[in-house]
């Protein structure tokens, strides 16, 4: 074999290219800055256990940004998305939140998926006066004028799911939930609504996110003999519950209603024999057949292909959250945080894929539609819709009109 001998001319050429590239690079960068794009921050888990939720959310916010830029941008300037992959790691959330606020100096941040991540970054954006949108369904109760929560909360969804379950299947409920703030607080809401509906809660069990064995729990549930299992299990490890439940032949014996099933793509990853019949309630389903919804899913699928996970409420609300912010900026005519906040507080609304979404001044949450659906052959069969649901849970404890200085998360006090 001949040893590799570079020719002199070749070497000179590559050296020239390299030098040219090195000289050109700063020019390109300076040019991009000169365009004076509005920077929008995004913090989403694109890898790790929460990654399947984050990828669809990342896709829809990119679509929203692209649509805005095609339509001429915002205040005559293009919008540039700065996204960091937080890798399902809370430390990275805090780190990247500071980076977005201090180094990138973004106009707004849309992001956070789990409630744990939200509570890690919300104080950072409060401290550095950066407007923050949390576009994920969650347990409710955040009362903070610097933050807008655009996903559904328990009064909008759990309050539909639990009464439906009690009326359809019976009054005895067994609650299983993930062991962190979302699961703990959602379980309290479930207990409240079960009691309000005249039912009884037989037991409430919490599972750390790395639990993969559910045999003991499946036995305990049978021992209690509930009429319905209410699940707020989270993440891909917990998917094992539905598998083991079906493997034990329990699926057709005790029905399951869930506030989380489907959010990590379960509808596609587990077999219909394991998922059929599970009932959920969310603010959006990909199967919704309104023109706005079909146009949205078509645009998402056209841009990102069929490999993208299910387009759930998370992905839809992230899209709508960005649009709400853009409307706020247009109305304010400025990127200033207070002016945008005040503009949003006038009750700005957008017509999104899920229907009309309106900002509620008192809570900084949104009034939006809610739906009930049943899993059937890898699809959601949406069988009930509830238009214009108010965030009544947060409204009961939070009034930012009277107390604009508040910045905390209320936890509902359920009497047990």
């Amino acid at each position: 074999m001949r040893p590799f001998r570079p020719s002199r001319r070749g070497l000179l050429q590559s050296a020239a290219t390299l030098a040219g590239g090195a000289l050109a690079a700063p020019l390109v960068a300076r040019h991009a800055l000169a365009a004076d794009a509005i920077k929008v921050g995004s913090l989403l888990d694109l890898s790790g256990p929460i990654g399947s939720s984050g990828q669809a959310m990342h896709a829809t916010i990119r679509l929203a940004v692209e649509e805005l830029n095609v339509g001429g941008g915002l205040l005559g300037r293009p919008v540039e998305l700065v996204n960091y992959d937080t890798q399902s790691t809370i430390q990275l959330y805090s780190q990247y939140a500071q980076q977005l606020a201090l180094k990138d100096k973004v106009a707004v941040v849309h992001g956070g998926i789990t409630s744990a991540s939200r509570e890690a970054i919300r104080p950072v954006f409060d401290r550095y006066a950066t407007l923050y949108f949390y576009n994920v369904l969650y347990e409710g109760g955040v009362c903070d004028r610097d933050c807008f929560c655009t996903g559904t909360t328990p009064a909008q969804t759990v309050n539909k799911l639990v009464p439906y379950a009690l009326e359809t299947w019976g009054k005895k409920a067994y609650i299983i939930a993930a062991d962190y703030n979302y699961g703990q607080i959602t379980a309290k809401w479930m207990q409240k609504y079960v009691r309000d509906g005249g039912g009884t809660v037989q037991a409430t069990e919490f599972f750390p996110l790395d639990v993969t064995e559910f045999a003991a729990t499946i036995s305990k549930i049978q021992q209690a003999g509930p009429s319905v299992v209410l699940s707020a299990l989270v993440g891909s490890n917990h998917t094992a519950f539905y598998r083991q439940w079906a493997a034990a032949g329990m699926k057709d014996k005790i029905p399951i209603a869930s506030t989380t099933f489907g959010l990590v793509n379960e509808i596609a990853t587990i077999a219909p024999s394991e998922s059929n019949g599970v009932v959920t309630s969310y603010g959006y389903y990909e199967e919704l057949s309104t023109p706005a919804s079909t146009a949205f899913t078509k645009a998402v699928r056209a841009k990102f292909g069929d490999g993208l996970p299910y387009i759930s409420e998370l992905a839809c609300a992230n899209y709508e959250g960005f649009k709400l912010w853009a409307e706020g900026v247009k109305k304010a005519g400025s990127l200033d945080r207070m002016r945008v906040t005040e503009a949003l507080e006038t009750g700005i609304a957008v017509d999104g894929p899920s229907g009309k979404v309106t900002i509620d001044h008192a809570t900084h949450h949104v009034v939006r539609n809610a739906y009930l659906a049943r899993a059937a052959e890898r699809k959601w069969d949406v069988f009930q819709s509830y238009p214009d649901q108010a965030p009544a849970d947060t409204a009961a404890v939070c009034d930012l009109i009277k107390e604009p200085k508040l910045s905390k998360q209320f936890v509902i006090d359920v009497k047990t």
Partner: protein, 293 residues
């Protein structure tokens, strides 16, 4: 009465899962003192091999019992040739290398298959113990775990390969002087351990949430079991699985899943305090089981 039988069955299932999770790791650690931090990812690769080949039309049993151990065994062979063989006797370095490997494998699988994959469901359905439903598939899990432990034991005890492996484990220099190549034995043992991990991942795939990061949920339990078991690979791992499996399952049933995890860790702590070399390595049990495998 039915409840007692049901709990006993659940305990057996829980022990079997621990045996499945830890035997491959035990073989690699017990033989070569190589701490394979990528063990969880080997299990994950087994699960992925099963679901991907089953979805592609391969018979589920072939996918689980043949494809998964074969694929992961070959992968282990490649890993041993490319990384591990340069690092024998350097525990910290192997830990670092295998940890890096685990990150790379998770990244690679995520890139190729995405963060979720269409799984396979468990065959057989359920059966009743008294008034309680439980899974027939658990019988299969228990059977595979038992067969795996028995198989490794029989190979070590009765075959020429087993004899050579044991000799190499005890004294590699003397074995080499007698004409055995320790390098070759290490390579084969590493591949065997990997294949066992692959088989375990394959068998657990239908009852797990299969994702690129699933290994993280298994690795701690596997390590605790192997360290608790001590130097005798099969006896130690089985006894430790028995102990930890019963404790965590009974604790989970009578209290909560959180306390089930706490109980397992507490049991491991207490045991390592009393028997620092594991069940088969120290104390009375260590003397009794000194000659076990």
């Amino acid at each position: 009465m039915a409840l007692v039988a049901l709990i006993a069955f659940n305990v057996a299932n829980s022990i079997a899962v621990l045996v499945l999770l830890s035997l491959g790791l035990g073989v690699i650690y017990g033989m070569m003192r190589v701490i394979n931090l990528a063990h969880g990812e080997f299990l994950m690769l087994g699960a992925y091999t099963t679901v991907v080949s089953a979805n592609a039309g391969l018979n589920l049993w072939v996918a689980m019992l043949v494809a998964a151990p074969l694929a992961v065994g070959l992968f282990g062979l490649a890993v041993e040739r490319l990384f591990i063989r340069f690092l024998y006797g350097r525990i910290i370095d192997t830990m670092l290398a295998t940890w890096g490997l685990s990150l790379a494998v998770v990244g690679l699988v995520t890139t190729v298959f995405g963060t979720t994959v269409r799984g396979v469901s468990a065959p057989f359905g359920g059966f009743a113990i008294g008034g309680y439903q439980t899974s027939v598939y658990s019988w299969f899990v228990i059977a595979v775990a038992a067969a795996m432990a028995a198989g490794v034991w029989l190979v070590l005890r009765f075959t020429r390969f087993g004899l050579v492996v044991r000799a190499t484990m005890q004294n590699p220099d003397m074995a080499a002087a007698l004409g055995v190549s320790p390098q070759r034995i290490y390579m084969m043992t590493f591949a065997l351990g990997s294949a066992l991990a692959g088989l375990a991942g394959g068998v657990l795939a239908p009852v797990s949430g299969v994702s690129p990061v699933m290994g993280g949920a298994f690795i701690a339990r596997a390590f605790i079991t192997v360290l608790g078991g001590g130097p005798a690979i099969v006896t130690g791992t089985s006894l430790a699985s028995g102990l930890f499996g019963s404790i965590s399952e009974v604790a989970t049933f009578f209290t909560t899943p959180v306390f089930g995890q706490v109980a397992l860790l507490l049991a491991a702590l207490v045991m390592i305090r009393i028997l620092p070399q594991g069940i088969t390595g120290s104390g009375l049990t260590g003397r009794l089981l000194r000659r076990s495998l």
